[in-house]
Amino acid sequence: MVFQFLAVAARGVGTFFARTGRAVASGTRRVFSKGKSASSAEGASTAKASESATNMSGFSEQEKLNTNIENIKVTTADAIKRGMGLEGSAQAQNQEYIDALNKKMEEKSQSSEKEKGYLRQKLQQNTDHYYNKLNNKYENLKSKVDQYTDSEFYKDKADNFLDPEKRANMQMGSKVKRGFGRASNAVKGVIGAGFAGVGWLFRKSEYDRDEVDDGMGQLLLFIAIFVHLFDFFWFEFQVNAETIVGRFAMYLALSLLAYLTLKMSIGDSLKEFTFISLIPLVLLPMLFDYMSNFAIGQEFATQLQMWVFLIPFWLVYLMFIKKISAGFLGGVAKFYLSAIFVFILFILITNFATSLGQATSAEGVDSEEALVDAKDFLVDTFDSIVGTFTGIAGRVTGEVDRRLNETLGYGYQADVERTMDRSGVFLENFRPVGTFYENQSVRMYADFEVRSFMEEFSISFYCILRDRSGREIVGTAVPSSIVVNEFDNRRIFCDFEDVNLSAGSYTARLLSSFNYKTSGYSTYYFVPRSTLEEDTRTTWNQRHNIRERPVNIHTQGPVFLGMNESVRLPIPIFENRTTYFAIDYGVRNNQQRGEIQRITEFTTKLPQALVIEQNQCTIPLFNTGTDVNTGYEIYTYTMDPDENRRILAVSCNIQIPKERVDEVASSGARPVTIYAEVAYDYAIELTTSINIQRLTGGGLG
């Protein structure tokens, strides 16, 4: 039974990851193709990275905006041209008409004065009529031109387009709508899996219905697990109009699958799986809405719902509600699942109790603040638990990523430098300062921290609030930009004043953009070829306690800077002729909540014995001098301003001339560091939801 259980699980897992792998592969291909926009960022190499990238990119919107602005420009120019033409045309035609009438009058000069008077009157009438008509047309066009060129709306958009900083803001501000596109994909995926399962069942059911039921039950169990994980990774357990549709579709598909496949009565199937679906769909949102009426505060309730969603209700149901048959879920499997559930529940309860205790014991803290603090503690604990799950997912996706890299020829790897304190730019804990009511100003804040060895770099902040209809309100970030010198730690406020917000749910975004750098180091070892003839590579490495692959380390921060690990150490070098070997560098985004806006410069430093000749790299690296500190040669590639790279893969042929062998060839194991550095513009986005409460009447009595 257990083996069957595992076999079914393996099939389910295999299908899931195969599907995920294809999705990731196609996404990454999109990312790796230069100049793509719109959905390109959706193809980051991991599921979460993909999500993040999609959040941040907004490039379809950007393209639309660009197109709109271009259209406006063309239309405006066209209109002006047409208007000018019409004006000229009107005058010309009018003059022509007058001339024609004058000519007619000349011809009729012999006519009576009465006839002349009539003609003159008619001429005047016609002239006035035609002129007025043309003039009206011209005025209409001119007013349209003025509307395009002078209106604040389009003027802002034009300004934003022309100003790179604002354009970055707009890029992030106009991010891709998340819910429906993903929901539809999710629904497609789940329905597809459902149909596949049904097909498999019907085919199998011709032979052994009971066995199929057992297997199908287990398969459904794992589908339920994946649906729940999907809910977490894709919808982040958010409760809003967009996600609820996708979630409803998922759970409905699951219920239908159960109904169609399990050998139960219709009522049982629907009842059981609908029960599973209803809890996260309906009951919990109702509960949270109800909770929000109490003093715990809306934001606490909002955060708490994430916690409650984390509890696998389908597991509760299977463990304690459903009468489990021996065939459906074996004793061993049941034991393990029960243990997992109890463990999760234990962590949740203990942490919640601890946080509440800590929070409420603090002096001078009112109940709501205490609960907010408790929430913070809970969120941290939640993050740690999630970290466990995502760690597993990360390893899986890391493997997918690694294979992708290999497939694409970028076999680079690196470890992140371990430091005593975290290093980098951190923007977190974005939340409202309190409860807000309709037609009030809204203030939110986030914690901002920088710990870096970079001297003086600037960071800009932008705040945007979006309602359900997609209307965006730009707020004021305070401060809007700061210059950081190594360390900083402060709060960033987002003010939305005089915005007259109606009651309801809004999505708030805090965006920050800054220029930053990441350094990468790799240590190589070179030995004379004759040494390796006597000493095998393995024994040499063992003797010197050196790994066979280079150890690549990059500094903490939002960007991954790896080097190739395809090289095997030590690298044998010829003493009587030039030795060649290759180095690959890879740069990509490494943070879920941010995105590289543009890579601006790539630099590598090599010992003088390691030479890069011109045109020996996939990008034109130029020798820009010698580092006075280390004596290394500096090779740099500065991106053109219109070169919009967000990933970078560099491969170089390195040669060691025989005259310089002694500089790196070693009697023992002389380490040779290869250094790389990438400079880039980066953007971080934080998103949270905020509920504007309705002001109830109150009245006098």
Binding site: E417, T419, M420, S423, S452, F453, M454, K517, T518, S519, Y521, T523, P528, S530, T531, E533, E534, D535, R543, H544, N545, I553, T555, G557, E575, N576, K605, P607, N629, T630, G631, Y632, E663, A665, S666, S667, G668, A669, R670, P671, V672, T673, Y675, E677
Partner: protein, 325 residues
Amino acid sequence: MRYLLVILLLLSACGGGELTRVNYFEGREAVHLTFGQNTPPRNVYDDSQFMLGVNIHNRGAFDTEGKIIFEYDTFVLEGSGSFEREFAIRGKQPGFPRGEQDYLQGGFLEVREVEGLRESTDTRITASICYPYRTQLTDFFCVDSDVFGGDTNPLCRGRQFHTYSGQGAPVIIDRVTPDVVPRGTLEDSTETVIPVLDETGNLVEVRREEVSTRQIILQPHFEISIRNVGRGLVFGTNQGLSACTDTSQRRMGEVHVMANMLDLNLTCSPNPVTIRGGEATTRCFVEPDDWFYTSTSYMDVLTVYLDYYYLDQTSTEVKVNRLRR
């Protein structure tokens, strides 16, 4: 009284012990190299200095003079990437029953500023020790004249080969297989005394007759198995210690072999022998001019010398911390 007690104490300390024979030609190590305590320190700061030093201990049986080469990453530490120091150290011998130990100060190294945005960096410092060394084996071997197995009480029975665990050097002779090759016979005659007796058994006369004999000409030879059991590399060179740093002058794995049986020099082939995969074999034999004949088996002393250069390394990690956090 007090002096008497001290003298008694000293006398009692001398008594009761037994002199033990120390075999210096044991073990599998030669000069052992380790970094000194806190030289270098485990943690240093950028833009500072630290000292390098090594402990050397000759655990082998021979005196030697050599070089120690320090190597480091010039991206992290100032300098050319390597420098060397010379040393001389005595092996196990009277006065140094465990071999001489010494501390060698390497000098100071300057730490560069940590490049880039890194908070700290780990760098490896390697010390390579390079010296000429000798392995010596002396043992009794049986020269078996009973090549046809006719001897009813053979002297050399059960003495087909000898195995060894070490001779106080990193390159050891782990097995010697002696053999004797018959290279022909030598016609000879000896005068034999034959007594002639009468019927009663009394000696009548003594007759002397010439009896022809054939002596077997023997060529002893030895198959010698060599192994590098140390951690380091073996090489040969004609350039002395300069080959320690000039890799082009090394002949990797090369060992020169010299052997003799008392005053008889043996010829070894191949010589020099090259160690590949940690092992090598050579044969040492008596040249035709020195072939000898004997009618009886006997014990002889074989001495084998292996001469080579040995290169061993040790390394340590130093963490360079950025002072400006």
